[in-house]
Symmetry: C2
Subunit: 174 residues, 2 copies
DNA sequence: TATTGTTATACTCTATAACTATA
DNA sequence: TATAGTTATAGAGTATAACAATA
């Protein structure tokens, strides 16, 4: 087991750090949500539904999460098969599928959100409170800055997102 | 275009923020490295080779980057086809493929690293210097904490990494 | 018997295009 | 003609298992 000469070629690179932070968080979130038969994306869908004033359609949910509408079909299928959501044809516009939480879905959402918050707390546990807050605030600032520039560039919030994620978790190689 | 009622159901969630920060960074890195015919992972491989005291084998490079040795074969194939690296059988142990940078590879690495640093600077541009430093330091702290616990848990640095990334960039749904 | 590199295979996730129905 | 949902297909990326050469 040989040690590296410069103690860290990679662990000072922002891309490397972000990637590994994200992967570690995703793994812990997957594990924490497994008892609820949910993945992080499904929890996100349910949270979006619960937070919306008017009941959102599949397309609106997809847009807010930055996923394709064809992908959303499967996510809703999965949630519906578990009894957490229901599809209803909109009366106003019969093309739209309005998605609502069932009672079981609302109950599950509440418990799963507690689990999610615990994962986030545990994840930040190695940091003191000042650093943890600074990290979160910095990420929020970066997220807002990116949302602004994306909007001014193309009018589409998720522009650039799709291309970057095409089957390539870490950035596809040639 | 309807606005959400609570201004941000998702953008206060740590998982969401980390995911989007990583995806945005990966997209910009991909674009910045494209002129060099490199992807971020390939740049990482070259950086690891350049930083190692003794010339590393494919397996050692793979271990340091946390990727499978079967995946490393293709990465080295790609770099070799571009003339950036060469494979040599180790004299000491003829099973090992020692990977070295070519002159073209060293030149390319130097220029690509400049591009990478520019991407990282641009990415942090929306933050003041204090926040940018705090973000980086927090990520380093979290990374080290995770490396420590992984080591004490199983003796394997990349434990948990593999399972989390199996074909599921954002955490696979059932 | 264990390790390194390699290949082949299967699986997951995503995007693209095409189809249906509604507007 | 355009939009919402759906389906089928193809593509990228990874892990798994099996194999050859070497230790």
């Amino acid at each position: 087991m040989k040690d590296e000469c410069p103690p860290d070629v990679l662990s000072r690179r922002l891309g490397y750090l972000l990637k590994h932070a994200y992967v570690a968080m995703a793994a812990e979130m997957d594990a924490a949500l497994a008892p609820f038969r949910l993945c992080p994306r499904e929890l996100g869908v349910m949270a979006v539904i619960a937070a919306a004033c008017e009941q959102p359609s599949q397309l609106e949910i997809a847009a807010r999460l930055g996923v394709d509408r064809t992908t959303m079909v499967g996510v809703i299928d999965s949630l519906e098969s578990k009894g957490y959501v229901e599809r209803h044809r909109s009366d106003r516009d019969r093309r739209r599928n309005v998605v609502t939480l069932t009672a079981a879905g609302q109950l599950c959402l509440g418990e799963a959100e507690v689990a999610r918050e615990r994962v986030e707390r545990d994840f930040l546990a190695p940091l003191d409170e000042t650093s943890a807050t600074a990290l979160t605030e910095a990420l929020v600032t970066l997220h807002r800055a990116r949302a602004d520039t994306d909007l001014s560039d193309s009018g589409r919030v998720v522009a650039g997102h799709r291309a970057a994620t095409a089957g390539a978790p870490y950035g596809g190689c040639a």
